[in-house]
């Protein structure tokens, strides 16, 4: 048995990332779309971890699955007219357009990637835990983007709360 363990892990996580991504495209029920997205994001988190990006993998789980997915589910619940969230009766008209465009985009990307033939250098093969190095880099080389993004998050918080506020009675139905 010369099957490498990391190869098996790669294909497992790649399948976990890619198959649900296509189910996001094909599933009819919007709640199922959200949960397929959850599976896909978990697969990407696994891919981060087998690439040695342990901090990013955990951040992916915390922020995407713990934060954004919950936000999306709240959005689904608050914008559904039908309390039972019934499935659509018919296949959406434009799904063929989406599939064709996606296939064309993938063909172009794969042609470019395989055409260039990036070489996998040794890279930072086994750097160990990355959290310390990431923290140091964020507070030295990347201190300006770090501060800018903090201000951005503050503005986003205020802006989102302002935009989503409830209108006064009778202003707009």
């Amino acid at each position: 048995m010369d099957i490498n363990m990391s190869t098996v892990m790669f294909f497992a996580f790649a399948l976990l990332a890619v198959f649900p991504a296509f189910m996001v495209l094909f599933a009819k029920d919007i709640v199922r779309v959200a949960f397929w997205l959850l599976a896909s994001l978990s697969g990407v988190a696994g891919l981060y971890i087998i690439m040695g990006a342990d901090f990013l993998g955990l951040t992916q789980v915390l922020v995407y699955i713990g934060g954004i997915l919950v936000l999306i589910l709240f959005g689904i619940m608050m914008t559904s007219k039908d309390p039972l969230l019934k499935r659509a009766r018919h296949v959406e008209r434009s799904v063929v357009t989406g599939i064709v465009t996606g296939a064309l985009v993938f063909a172009a990307l794969a042609a470019v990637i395989l055409g260039i033939g990036f070489e996998s250098g040794k890279g930072r093969a086994d750097g160990g835990a990355t959290t310390t190095a990431l923290g140091e880099a964020l507070l030295t080389d990347y201190i300006l983007p770090f501060e800018v993004v903090s201000v951005l998050l503050l503005f986003v918080l205020c802006g989102a709360a302002h935009v989503a506020r409830r209108r006064k009675e009778g202003a707009h139905a």
């Binding site: 790669f10 990006a53 990013l56 922020v63 959406e92 989406g98 996606g102 990036f118 990355t130 964020l138």
Partner: protein, 105 residues
């Protein structure tokens, strides 16, 4: 079985990106469109991490830093987009992107 290298991750990322493009184009529910945008952002972030892992000469982590910023921007984008969608739903009672063609009544 070949050794897993940079190209494998790039192909996975391309698949995620194409699925995201397909979702953005074919979905009518604006929240599903948002899910497609998240897929696209994840594909970009996966590319950054893969290049950082396989072709950074020394032990630098610039690609992972960029991925952190991508995750932050995705969170901000999701918050603003959902706020706008709630506002849209209050005004028009739908989140169908084909019907949302007015900015103010």
């Amino acid at each position: 079985m070949p050794e897993i290298g940079l190209n494998h991750f790039l192909i996975v990322s391309a698949l995620l990106f194409s699925a995201g493009i397909g979702v953005v184009i074919s979905r009518k529910n604006a929240i599903a469109v948002l899910c497609g945008v998240e897929l696209i952002l994840n594909a970009a972030a996966l590319n950054f991490v893969a290049f950082n892992r396989y072709s950074t000469p020394d032990a630098r982590l610039d690609g992972q830093i960029f991925t952190i910023f991508i995750i932050i921007l995705a969170a901000a984008e999701a918050a603003v987009a959902l706020a706008i969608l709630l506002n849209l739903f209050q005004q028009t009672n739908t989140v169908d992107v084909d019907e949302a063609d007015t900015m103010k009544e």
